[in-house]
Symmetry: C2
Subunit: 223 residues, 2 copies
DNA sequence: CGACGCCTTGATAAATGTCAAACGTCGTGG
DNA sequence: CCACGACGTTTGACATTTATCAAGGCGTCG
């Protein structure tokens, strides 16, 4: 379904809770590669070391939903229940630290500080999921703006955002069609809110215009 | 904004992680009463003992979003960060167990089993938020159906669902207008998928028709 | 009995999705 | 080195869904 430029996103290797402790085994994955599938048992937790990951759910009628994107330093795959609710795939080539869920729980039991950190990660995931849900009740323009605000916070280098994901991925994350996303981005470029040297390269020209109406409360809490 | 019949939802007192351990102080609240406000510091965690709670966010332009509903046995208020992202209000008169967040963390540190349970609660919240987000990308009909499927799982007594919340609450939870919700419910009653003896009383007449297309994956995982 | 709030229903407008085609970029092969 | 082809993206015309505006019904409580 994809091929795209093998250009991988420029976000540097940020270290997260696992990397700092040298936990887990780094594994490399190619582009558009499944790391775990929907319905598979939850056995591991993962931390992105390099690249980007998306969690995906495909409905029976073919519609696709992207639960979230994970970048360097982010942890994913932490779910309750026995089976994964969504599958996880690489957006581009990526390196991921893998650790047994059971090991993680064990470590948490032995190390109180780590336990708190783990709980904090789970709770911040709750916050992220809530913000995502909040975003989905807004208009198409607001959703797209909110998406860029989030990307600005998470993967911007200065005013530059190098998008690792396709328009289709963005659309599936925002619950919109690719056409609506494309039109909205064009409109934002028209008002000089942002500029796009290429479709995957976004320059933030006016952050306050971007924030305006884009949830208006995405700065608070900053996760 | 509300007055409604003081009829409180019939769901019995289910006990959750706190009540089972006799933790926290039970407090009574009247209808439509704020338990904590958006922006307030996160100091306590809460468990519903009786009644129903909604978490609310009001956007600057007046739009209202309901993050979720919590019923007997459910825990809410567990957030990371220092401030609440959404406020919490009673839907009808309710009893809520209140416990200091710090106490909870302390307990978790001492009791490994409890720590795991706490982590599981946070993770299941993530799951719920994801399902909510998933629901929000579907059509109005599907969202309403999914809502009733969820209610059927969470507060049904047999085939009877006694809704504690107003149409407006449902609309704000589903990201729809009250009119669209109303029309959709009428349509579902028209196809005998459900019957409504009164606006707050729903009889599930055809669960499979309700599930059909309503996410189709809401049974799996059952939280 | 009357008023108020909630819910439903109807007519119309606006937003977004669908279908279709053209454009640009990039990699491949002549 | 250039031409072609594939794919992702953009743009356009039109259909559909949902929101908005407006009014009426219905039950509940004072």
């Amino acid at each position: 379904m994809r091929k795209s430029g093998g250009r991988n996103s420029g976000n540097a290797t940020r270290s997260g809770a696992l990397a700092r402790r040298m936990l887990g085994v780094p594994m490399k994955f190619g582009e558009d590669t499944e790391i775990y599938g929907e319905g598979e048992p939850v056995e591991y937790a993962y931390e992105v070391e390099k690249g980007a990951i998306r969690t995906v759910k495909v409905l029976t009628d073919g519609r696709r939903k992207i639960g979230g994107f994970y970048f360097a330093g982010d942890i994913f795959g932490l779910e309750d229940g026995t089976d994964h609710d969504l599958s996880a795939e690489t957006v581009g080539p990526a390196t991921v630290r893998v650790i047994k869920r059971q090991t993680l729980i064990q470590l948490a039991a032995d190390d109180r500080k780590f336990a708190e950190e783990l709980l904090a990660i789970a709770m911040s995931d709750v916050g992220r999921a809530h913000r995502h849900a909040l975003m989905l009740i807004m208009t198409a323009h607001e959703r797209v703006k909110a998406f860029f605000v989030e990307m600005a916070q998470r993967i911007a280098i200065g005013d530059l955002v190098q998008l690792p994901m396709s328009r289709q991925d963005i659309a599936d994350h925002l619950g919109l069609t690719i056409e609506t996303v494309s039109r909205t981005i064009t409109a934002l470029a028209g008002t000089s809110t942002l500029a796009l040297p290429s479709s995957r390269l976004i320059v933030l020209r006016n952050r306050s215009a971007l924030m305006r109406g884009a949830g208006a409360e995405f700065e608070a809490g900053g996760h």
